[in-house]
Amino acid sequence: MTDAPAPLALTATSRARWPLSLVVGGVLTAVVVLTALIAFVWTPYDVEAVNIAAKLTAPSAAHPFGTDHFGRDVLSMIMVGAQNSLAVALVAVGIGAGIGVPLGLTAAARGGWVDELVMRGNDLIFAFPALLLAVMITAVFGPGAINAIIAIGLFNIPVFTRVARGAAMGLWTREYVLAARTAGKSKALISIQHILPNLMSLLVVQAAIQFAVGIVAEAGLSYVGLGAQPPMPSWGRMLAEAQTMIGFAPWLAVMPGLAIFVTVLGLSLTGDGLRDLFDPRVRRER
């Protein structure tokens, strides 16, 4: 530390020092998101173009990630698959947060039987193995990306409800909330104006973590054939199809596996990093 008497400058520099996990996670996530976006306008090859002559070629200059048993370019499939994975996870987190957070806020604001009802309903969903629930939904309504989204979104709801309710309960006893009540504001208005903004950092962290969980869940559903249907490429299904060929074409399993690994790692690190950034206690220890 220098002896320049500039407290403002000091806080500015300590602010600028972002957690390493956030930087690394952010870069990884950005790469995946960028790949998915590029795939909308350009991929090296058409993902639906079958080229039996070039089937099962190992990674090369022409096909950096190799080709599959139909001669399709693996890199192109992974690029388009990223769209699918991200879209499913994003919408699922949106459903989870969009329903879960208001439920949690309501439970905390109202208390009593409303709280009981919401939390016991949550327990019900929590008690069900998440993947089993997803399998059940897709089994009843048929496989497909939309039903996968609904299934993953559904088991995201209780996660957000719990986080929002727990933190909101603490905020309701704060004096500034009491002051807002003496200002005649309704519980709903206080929830929106005072409670939600003060929960935001917590929810953003949770969203990043659930996003990562959603990617894995989508891959899992696709693996058992309940996610996006062919010819739409999907990382989970690519893994499933690679299973029988892993002996002589390992890149077919390694590449989508790596894609999932990088995405989940990126999102998890982002979540950890955001928590460090928001939590002043962790920040001071660094």
């Binding site: 530390m1 002896d3 320049a4 008497p5 704060r174 004096e175 500034y176 009491l178 002051a179 807002a180 009540r181 003496t182 200002a183 005649g184 504001k185 005072h194 903004p197 003060n198």
Partner: protein, 542 residues
């Protein structure tokens, strides 16, 4: 021979000096009162003695304990000193103990760490020490957990841990500040007895001059990391020489000039009639739950321009009563009339109209504002109570005017609460309460967290506002000194009931209820203590 000798201790963190050439000493069996306002460096001095200064702190000077130089000693060496030669008691009895360990084990732990004796022997020592601090075996077996004890009892356990190894020096850092006055008096008596019996040196760190006047042998006054005055307690309190200590003493006994005329003939602004607030207790397996009556049939009235004090110890129900009066909780029985309208049964627009007339200022200047809102937005929050909310420009104009009325610059509106000091925040809270032009303001321990000089300023502001605007106040507090200075009438609450009510001066002069008498006797009274010091001095001279 001194127990502790601090010579020219200076300490800085980064470029900020925290302590400036502080020199202090404590003799065996002596109680040194270390007083000063927050940020004066009194706690840092004690942490330096224990070698517990923050990692980046740079320290110069010498600290001798029992004639042995301990400043600059290694952490391992200091660990041996802590607990064995120096004991410390902190302010908060709730967090000082480990909640999942029995009190016996917690006391025994210190003994085992330093003496290396068996668990059984250590527990025997623990038993003896707990007996000494007034926790006898029949009522407080070693197997008790902290949550089974009251705040005062926990503080006794903390003292037991600190004195288990009969240290030469005991440091009590605001150790009685969080306790009720009657408990505080008992704990201070205990400390005095232990010092006398063991010949320990005691450093009593506090902001409360009255406590120091009745307990300490010598007093040291600190300001901004410097020792400004030091001497015999009687000499300090009867003939302070440093302007800062003089100001501190004046602020501690400050009584604002109050010009507000109480309108006895006018209809009351606040009437509470037979208020009852019950909480459902733990439900038993069979039968009904035990209800706990926090507020039991309470009635009170406040006239326009009148200041009424509501005092009582923690758990007496005064906070619950306040929340019911503010319609933050629904009472089981009774009415609360604000200028004749019942707030407990009103709803919607009617409730809003009543709320305009009764507002509140809370204790914690740090917790009572949403950290994400600007001051202007916070103060304007109560415009929500008006039938027609003013336009943004109009609202801002009125907020700026109000901020100036409470002694803040209008530019304060654009800042966030964390940019202000505790006293300034209380001014913001008062501005927020005043913006709808209420008739009554409830003050929930509103000056309890403030330093004496800031407290004096806020009390002056409140007195000034009351005389200018004809405001009535309901002071809810545990601090009898404040109530005495600023209220016309006093209500004493115990176990949910008002046990005594009367003119403030009359109650202080001749309390009739035994509880009030006990409360007044336990309250440290600066004037009384200084008088006692003088009398004792004359006695010895003669």
């Amino acid at each position: 021979m001194t127990v502790l000798d601090i010579r020219d201790l200076s300490l800085s963190i980064g470029s900020t000096p925290i302590l400036k050439t502080v020199s202090l000493s404590v003799a065996p069996g002596e109680i040194l009162g270390l007083v000063g306002e927050s940020g004066s460096g009194k706690s840092m001095t004690s942490l330096a003695v224990l070698g517990l200064t923050p990692p980046r702190a740079a320290m110069t000077g010498e600290i001798h304990l029992n004639g042995q130089l301990i400043s600059g000693a290694s952490d391992a060496a200091l660990q041996k000193v802590r607990g064995r030669d120096v004991g410390i008691i902190f302010q908060e009895p709730m967090t000082a103990l480990n909640p999942v360990m029995t009190i016996g084990d917690q006391v025994a732990e210190t003994v085992r760490l330093h003496k290396g004796v068996s668990r059984k022997a250590a527990l025997a020592v623990a038993r003896a020490v707990l007996d000494r601090v007034g926790l006898p075996a029949e009522r407080f077996p070693l197997t008790r957990f902290p949550h089974e004890l009251s705040g005062g009892q926990r503080q006794r356990v903390a003292i037991a841990i600190a004195i288990a190894l009969t240290p030469k020096l005991l440091i009590a850092d605001e150790a009685t500040t969080a306790l009720d006055v009657t408990t505080q008096a008992q704990v201070l008596d205990l400390l005095k007895r232990l010092v006398r019996e063991d010949g320990m040196g005691l450093i009593l760190i506090t902001h409360d001059l009255a406590v120091v006047a009745e307990t300490a042998d010598r007093v040291a006054v600190m300001k901004d990391g410097e020792l400004v005055e030091e001497g015999d307690t009687r000499r300090i309190f009867t003939g302070m020489t440093h302007p800062y200590s003089q100001r501190l003493l004046a602020n501690a006994t400050h009584a604002p000039t109050r010009k507000a005329a109480v309108q006895h003939a006018a209809p009351p602004v606040l009437q509470v009639e037979g208020l009852v607030r019950e909480y459902a207790g733990a439900r038993r397996l069979f039968g009904k739950a035990n209800a706990f009556r926090a507020v039991d049939d309470v009635s009170l009235t406040i006239q326009p321009g009148e200041s009424v004090g509501l005092v009582g110890e923690s758990g007496c129900g005064k906070s619950t009563l306040l929340r019911a009066v503010l319609a933050l909780e629904t009472p089981q029985a009774g009415r609360v009339l604000v200028r004749g309208r019942d707030i407990t049964s009103a709803g919607g627009a009617a409730l809003k109209a009543i709320r305009r007339d009764i507002q509140v200022v809370f204790q914690d200047p740090y917790g009572s504002f949403d950290p994400r809102w600007t001051v202007a937005r916070l103060v304007a929050e109560n415009f929500h109570l008006l039938d027609q909310t003013p336009s943004p420009a109009e609202a801002r104009h009125r907020v700026d005017q109000m901020l100036e009325q409470v002694g803040l610059p209008a530019s304060a509106g654009d800042k966030y609460p964390h940019e202000f000091s505790g006293g300034q925040r209380q001014r913001i809270a008062i501005a927020r309460a005043l913006i709808t032009d209420p008739a009554v303001i409830a003050l929930d321990e509103a000056v309890s967290a403030l330093d004496v000089s800031i407290r004096a300023q806020i009390l002056d502001l409140l007195a000034d506002l009351s005389s200018r605007l004809g405001l009535s106040y309901l002071f809810v507090t545990h601090d009898l000194t404040v109530v005495r200075a600023v209220t016309d009438r006093l209500l004493v609450m115990q176990a949910g009931r008002i046990v005594e009510e009367g003119e403030t001066a009359a109650v202080f002069a001749a309390p009739s209820h035994p509880y009030t008498q006990k409360l007044l006797a336990a309250t440290p009274d600066l004037a009384r203590n200084i008088g006692a010091l003088d009398a004792a001095h004359k006695e010895t001279v003669r």
